[in-house]
Chain length 332, copies 2
């Protein structure tokens, strides 16, 4: 399997590293050799945590996406529009499978891209777009495929969960906890995407599509971030026997209405989600036969995201050709 | 997809119920119709929680396993030897895919059966054999397929976990907690298989095969049950800041030696597994890129097990043809 990687930030470099260090295992597990034929990023001379060796370099990722010696394009550029979108579209139109970690792209353009892929029997996969290393989309699409899902509740953003954990356990205020998160590399210089709940909303929209068979629809999600919370709010929550978590939730009413929300929620201490602290992510899924299933783990970071990206590559190497959202994109 | 169900206990009846009540969803998710053509059990006149309608009845499951109008055999008879083994073998030799919930069968004969299946491109699937509705084998084989696994730790037996939870929270002794579990239907009349750790060992052996690419080997697992524990042991554990859980663990040493154990273990309260109480199951998996991933949910019962069985049927309907243990059975 010949792989082209578009984007060589933390995640792209970790994918290279993983393919290099676990290539033997991947061959045993799939019977295929995983080979990186080309990579693409703006600056070839930037210091990176990976060996480029004799891998071809493309400055333009959409040129990479059309190369004859690439079977699968890994898109880790990011952003819903522009170059990432063009790269994925070009790859699919040139007969390449696509694996992406780009939640904004999939939440906005996922259905149209999946239609292109499904029409010609290509795979579009994005496990890495939701909760990093945690195989939550696979759990929804496959592990719980027999179930009618009634509810999803997830801690979908590690940055916010870290900030809330610090405010609760350290008693520091929001600004101080955010500064700490930035210092540790958990929060970006411009943290709005995380703290305003936008990142969580993108992930929720994608999970909802797979769980309920409805197109991702960011506009129908009520979104409230965590910036207005005070240490007092968290202290009050503790006195009431719980804590406050930024949850992404989707609940199907008996009338078939889907209520989607990202907002700070009081979670009693006896619930599993209350004990998910720090940068971890966790999702609780309720199905009519399975009952409550919880998956938990590292939701971000280069290595965790690489784990999910390469899992998608393994599925492709094993010949899985699943609808991106679990049902035909034309039916969403 | 034409399905034959061998065994109509709790689990077989729940599979029928699931296929009947969620058949519409399964069609949307796979593009295939799931049809039960025949079932098999000893006594046709026993009261059961499912509608037989005009489904054919076979008294001998190995006749069912050879029927021309069956594409997939669901084996839910149980037991490592005898009729269950014969049914699965007959099905594979007659060109049928097999889905089974039979942990003892797979732990003992899984590799040979997988070799038969893989030689002719048939699927042998047994997600339901490990932790009921929790997709732990899928998580190992697919979700974490990019990782070198270093450790598994799991609460694999809900009966034992219930008994220990009751001894800890209720202060009752082992015999009383066991009697309670039996009264609630969590423990069987002869509870030795659960309380002596045998059930956990079967599940551990299967997980180890998928995680580490080694054949299931019950003899190399050190097994100790929970019958000798007293309320005092649990009180001591609590005073030391933790609790006692029956864990199945597998750890790879730096020298490549695999240490497999089922035994009561002290688990500090700050670990996620400490907070898994009652009949729930949970498994913590450590991979080199993913870090720690935890999956948790209902590990037993008809509906939960049916959820996993039908998930395997969905994979087959979607055309997944994976090695049963994640790598070729001949390589184990």
């Amino acid at each position: 399997m010949r792989i082209g990687i578009a984007g060589l930030g933390n995640v792209g470099a970790a994918v290279m590293q993983l393919l290099q260090s676990n290539g033997d295992l991947l061959s045993v597990r799939t019977g295929k050799k995983f080979e990186i034929t080309a990579v693409s990023a703006r600056d070839k001379n930037k210091a990176r945590n990976c060996m480029l060796g004799d891998i071809d370099w493309e400055t333009d990722p959409s040129i990479l996406a059309a190369r004859a010696d690439v079977d699968v394009v890994v898109e880790v550029i990011g952003g819903a529009e522009g170059i990432a979108h063009k790269t994925v579209e070009t790859a699919l139109k040139n007969g390449k499978h696509v694996v992406t970690a780009n939640k904004a792209l999939i939440a906005v353009h996922g259905v149209v891209l999946a239609q292109i892929a499904e029409k010609v029997g290509l795979q579009l996969s994005f496990e890495a777009a939701v909760c990093g290393a945690v195989p939550v989309l696979k759990t929804l699409r496959e592990g719980l495929a027999a179930n009618r899902i009634s509810s999803l509740r997830g801690i979908l953003n590690g940055t916010c969960n870290y900030i809330l954990s610090r405010m609760e356990q350290g008693g520091v205020d929001f600004a101080a906890a955010l500064a700490e998160a930035q210092q540790k590399g958990y929060a970006e210089t411009n943290p709005r995407n995380d703290i305003d709940g936008i990142d969580s909303a993108n992930k929720l929209a994608i999970m909802v599509a797979v769980a309920f068979g409805r197109a991702p629809d960011l506009d129908s999600i009520f979104v409230e971030g965590i910036a207005a919370l005070t240490p007092n709010d968290l202290r009050d929550a503790r006195m009431r026997g719980g804590c406050i978590k930024l949850l992404g939730t989707a609940d199907l009413t008996p009338q078939g209405e889907l209520i989607q929300r990202v907002q700070p929620v009081f979670v009693p201490h006896n619930e599993a989600l209350a004990r998910v602290s720090g940068v971890l992510n966790a999702v609780e899924i309720t199905g009519d036969f399975a009952g409550k299933i919880i998956v938990q783990g590292q939701g971000a970071g280069g290595t965790a995201t690489a784990s999910a990206i390469v899992a998608d590559l393994v599925d492709i190497a094993r010949g899985h050709r699943d609808c991106a959202f679990g049902v035909a994109a034309s039916a969403l």
